[in-house]
């Protein structure tokens, strides 16, 4: 139901646009109306990769140009119809995506962006060298329809619109599916995504293949509209920039962004060219540039998000009343707080660490650590800053490969496996630095973690909703993460970690930055999880909260285990006090 309803706006938009187009008889305005969906689709293809994964591509012209040249050369040399060539172009674009993505995804951030920039520029010279400086589509006077050469320019616009509608719907489907969630998770934090059970390389490759295929298809259609293909016009810097411009102007990471950007910018550029440029040649570039600079300064994430934030603010001010119920819900969780957990769990061993070591050059970050985690136990891992606690977690969930030793999960050695594999084996974790998806609702944030177990989108949403209930956030489940307090964000991260129903949960400073009462609420939630059968290892500084929470402590200093045992015993251990507070305090505390 919800899905069908969300396809309505693009359909209505397309129909309205088609209506406007059919009313236009001036062939020049019609050409502009054709170019709007062309650049919108190109922007959407860029958005599919860069908008959702955050891996900025400066080189989408590579795919666009491959599509354009495939469509042009196929007609010239093999006399194939563009109706067939455009799908072929899409396939070539997909293959190009795979070939480009595979080596380039080793890079991140600016390095990825720059490497992508190189591809179209390199291909441009190849096509020049091949002697394809100027290629024109042969005119087919006897079979124009079969060769997509319409005398009526409306048909080009309608075709462009059809491609745009298809791309929008495809993007929307992806956005809501496991695919889209995986891409968004990669954008926020690739490491966290991997830890949440997402095979990031596989999803990124799928994204670039699909993105390349769409870009190549629209490049082919563009060649059909422009009728002339030159390396500069399809592989040039300006082409790659066009994708970025329309997407960034309209809004990155949303299906509407590139469409809004294209609908505004393409006609604007042309009107300026025709009107201002006729009076003062060249002024159109200046005005266009200034307009973009102003919009980017006022709405850095694009028009769509700016407008949505404004709308939300307006509706939010009306809805402050609902906050009362939220506090009630939180209080409810606090009420569940148990008196105290009786003794340490001594059930079966679910996680065993044997002689685990990891060094970075000369620094031994973790040395010879061994411990066991029993089913249903809460283990607190403490130690001063730099003791190697987070490194230990990174070794446990696969971010780092141990130099020595092994990690056994249910008796199986999992050391050195990729994080998403370990996640699938039932180990979830949260991070010291929170990585919420600020634009998404709490529920959507949590869904990311559910996919590791869920077989379908529905199941994932059910599991996510369940996790949200367990951490006591159901009252605010539909709020966007950007509006939440630190406590709620911590709980949301917790929900994301448990949404995939892990058996072992690694919590990295979940109480950091919380006040006393807030910490108590989170502690209550964690205790409830343990009562429900989860096994938990938690890193924490705040001793006070920890003493009431954990069944036993593992104390690290300089990467090695100093001691382990029951909370009462460990907190009185002089070695622990020395490690935390320094030698001169040992005497104080003993008294």
């Amino acid at each position: 139901m919800l899905r069908m309803r969300s396809f309505l706006p693009p359909l209505l938009f397309t129909l309205a646009y088609a209506g406007v187009s059919l009313g236009v008889t001036n062939s020049y305005y019609q050409l502009i109306l054709t170019l709007v969906p062309v650049w919108a689709v190109f922007g959407l293809s860029w958005n599919l990769l860069s908008g959702y994964t955050g891996l900025i591509s400066f080189g989408h012209a590579a795919f666009f140009g491959i599509g354009a040249y495939a469509t042009a050369l196929g007609q010239i040399y093999f006399n194939i119809s563009p109706w067939l060539l455009i799908p072929i172009a899409a396939m070539l674009g997909g293959i190009a995506g795979l070939l480009i993505g595979f080596p380039t995804f080793r890079l991140q951030g600016h390095y990825f962006a720059l490497a992508m920039l190189a591809y179209p520029l390199a291909i441009l010279y190849v096509f020049e060298w091949l002697g394809f400086q100027e290629v024109t589509l042969p005119i087919k006077r006897d079979a124009p329809i079969a060769y997509m050469q319409f005398a009526d320019p409306h048909i080009y616009t309608l075709l462009g619109l059809a491609i745009m509608l298809a791309t929008i719907v495809l993007t929307q489907v992806i956005e809501r599916s496991r695919f889209g969630i995986a891409l968004l998770a990669i954008k926020q934090n690739e490491a966290a995504a991997e830890a949440a059970g997402i095979n990031t390389l596989a999803w990124k490759l799928r994204a670039i293949m699909l993105s390349g295929a769409i870009a190549a298809a629209i490049g082919g259609f563009y060649a059909q509209v422009l009728l002339v293909v030159t390396p500069q016009s399809v592989f040039g810097m300006l082409v790659s920039a066009q994708a970025l411009t329309v997407a960034m102007f309209g809004g990155v990471g949303t299906v509407w962004g590139p469409v809004i950007g294209s609908v505004i910018l393409i006609p604007l550029a042309e009107i300026l060219h025709a009107e201002a440029g006729a009076r003062i040649p060249g002024i159109q570039g200046v005005i266009f540039g200034l307009a973009i600079v102003c919009v980017i300064l006022l709405a850095p994430e694009g028009l769509f998000w700016k407008l949505r934030d404004l709308l939300r603010k307006r509706t939010a001010s009306k809805a402050t009343v609902s906050d009362a119920t939220e506090t009630a819900a939180a209080a409810n969780v606090t009420a569940l707080k148990p008196a105290a957990r009786q003794g340490a769990a001594t059930g079966q061993v679910v996680l065993e660490v044997r002689n685990l070591s990891r060094s970075f050059g000369g620094l031994k970050a973790v040395q010879d650590v061994s411990f066991r985690l029993h089913k249903n136990e809460i283990l607190g891992i403490i130690g001063p800053n730099g003791a190697g606690k987070t490194t230990l977690f990174n070794l446990l969930n696969g971010f780092l490969k141990p130099s020595q030793g092994e990690v056994l999960i249910d008796g199986r050695d999992m050391s050195g496996q990729r994080p998403h594999v370990i996640c699938e084996a039932g180990v979830g974790r949260t991070f010291q630095v929170m990585r919420p998806f600020l634009r998404m609702s709490i529920l959507d944030n949590v869904v990311v973690g559910a996919y590791v177990r869920a077989r379908s989108d529905e199941e994932a949403r059910k599991m996510a909703a369940d996790a949200v209930v367990r951490v006591g956030l159901s009252a605010v489940a539909d709020r966007i993460a950007g509006e939440l307090s630190t406590k709620e964000l911590r709980l949301m991260e917790l929900a994301r970690a448990i949404a995939g129903r892990p058996r072992i949960l690694l919590l990295d400073e979940t109480l950091a930055g919380l006040g006393h009462s807030e910490a108590d609420e989170v502690v209550a939630v964690i205790q409830q999880l343990a009562r429900d059968g989860m096994t938990i290892a938690i890193i924490e500084h705040t001793m006070q909260a920890m003493v009431r929470l954990v069944d036993s402590f593992l104390v690290l200093d300089h990467g090695a285990v100093i001691t382990e045992g029951l909370p009462e015993v460990v907190t009185r251990d002089s070695r622990v006090i020395e490690a935390y507070l320094g030698k001169k305090w040992v005497g104080h505390v003993a008294n």
Partner: protein, 416 residues
């Protein structure tokens, strides 16, 4: 079968508008028999972006042409109707050129002919539109492809690129032989990898060098912009060729190369240097290099202000402060006269009639294009179109070939 009906739907609107426009013109002509009507002709050239400068120069030529035609009584066959220039900026990309052409045919339905668009890629895109709108276009662009598409509404006034190199090199060799008394034997070729240079080099290497008995001793290609010419010129110096073909397409590249040639003591014609494009003879060159550096350098171009154009050159200097008349000015000026010729022949201000007039025209020797006739073959190429060889002499590139157009005698620098 249904081809015609489709065509009718397609062009119905434009054609109807054109016809009504034409009807309006003739009606107006009858109504106001004393007052001659205006006939619109188009100039679609780059007036923004990196190709602005040639576009501006073409506009100067067009404006002068229109003014002269109108001053001499306009189109006599149409009761002295005056020509009016419609200037359209085709921007600096193929897409912009296509859009501008669409704008031209949509917003200016009563245009009878147009000229443009400097770069052959732009002309290709523009003529894809004008062909469908049945608007005749004259062009100075010389890519062979332009007139190889079977189009009926494009007319190429310059010799095509392949023809230019066929004509240019033998002429140059003759010039060398006459001036220095011996034929060059070895040649070095330094070129950028733009479309024009690549096409020229292909023709040279595949056929012409062998035909002229020239041995290619150095061949170097760069991608503009050239950052350092030292390694290129070093190779030339050690090979000591009889002839250097230097083919830049950007003024900055030309400057770097020529300065290095001069620095290495190869300038002033120690090694005779020849180019194949207008770049090296653009007025901009003198802003960055001294007249001494370019002295003696020759280039083969499609057209140039020459003997018989003295008054025009003087007017250009006075009005626009242009020191000399490049091919862009003289050809565009000539295009206006060619359009006038066609309008006189057609006897009506209708684009199809004008196109037909271009196709059937046979107006004798051409005054503003080098060589040949004012006549087009079935492909739309001007019959007998020739080339001009220009040589830098005391800070001015002057025409030295063909003899009937030459403003000065060529000098072939002797090897010391």
């Amino acid at each position: 079968m249904n081809k015609t009906s489709k065509g009718k739907i397609a062009n119905g609107l434009t054609r109807r508008t054109v016809l009504s426009g034409a009807a309006a013109v003739s009606l107006a002509g009858i109504a106001r028999a004393q007052e001659p009507a205006q006939i619109k002709v188009g100039l679609i050239v780059p007036l923004s972006g990196i190709y602005t400068r040639p576009g501006q120069v073409m506009k100067m030529g067009a404006e002068m042409g229109i003014e002269h035609i109108n001053a001499q009584g306009g189109i006599k066959a149409l009761g002295g109707a005056k020509l009016k220039l419609v200037v359209i900026d085709c921007g600096d990309t193929t897409e912009k050129a296509k859009n501008a052409a669409q704008r031209m045919v949509a917003q200016e339905p009563d245009l009878v002919a147009a000229t443009g668009s400097y770069l052959s890629s732009f002309t290709l895109a523009v003529t894809e539109v004008t062909e469908r709108a049945e608007l005749p276009v004259l062009t100075l662009s010389y890519s062979d492809l332009l007139t190889d598409r079977g189009f009926k509404y494009i007319f190429q006034t310059a010799a095509t690129a392949s023809r230019q190199s066929e004509l240019g090199l033998p002429t140059l060799m003759k010039l060398a032989e006459n001036a220095s008394g011996k034929k060059p034997k070895t040649v070095a070729m330094l070129m950028d990898n733009t479309a024009t240079s690549v096409a020229t080099a292909k023709a040279l290497k595949e056929k012409l060098l062998a035909q002229e008995g020239l041995q290619l001793v150095v061949e170097e290609v760069w991608t503009p912009p050239l950052s350092d010419a030292t390694p290129l010129i070093q190779k030339v110096r050690s090979a000591k060729p009889d002839l250097l073909l230097f083919m830049p397409n950007a003024v900055s590249d030309a400057k770097l190369g020529l300065e290095k040639i001069s620095e290495f003591g190869l300038g002033q014609g120690k090694i005779p240097t020849v180019s194949f494009s207008i770049t090296i003879a653009e007025p901009d060159m003198l802003q960055s290099v001294s007249p001494d550096t370019v002295q003696g350098i020759m280039t083969i171009v499609a057209n140039w202000g020459s003997k018989g154009h003295e008054a025009l050159i003087a007017e250009l200097k006075a009005r626009y402060k242009e020191p000399w008349m490049t091919q862009n000015v003289i050809s565009t000026y000539g295009d206006m006269w060619l359009m006038k010729e066609a309008l006189e022949k057609a006897g009506k201000a209708d684009r199809n009639a004008v196109a037909q007039a271009f196709r059937t025209m046979d107006a004798g020797p051409s005054k503003y294009y080098p060589g040949g006739q004012l006549k087009f073959d079935e492909k739309g190429r001007r019959v007998g179109a020739g080339v001009v060889i220009v040589q830098w002499q005391s800070g001015v590139p002057v025409t030295v070939y063909p003899p009937e157009l030459a403003q000065a005698q060529p000098f072939w620098p002797k090897k010391s």
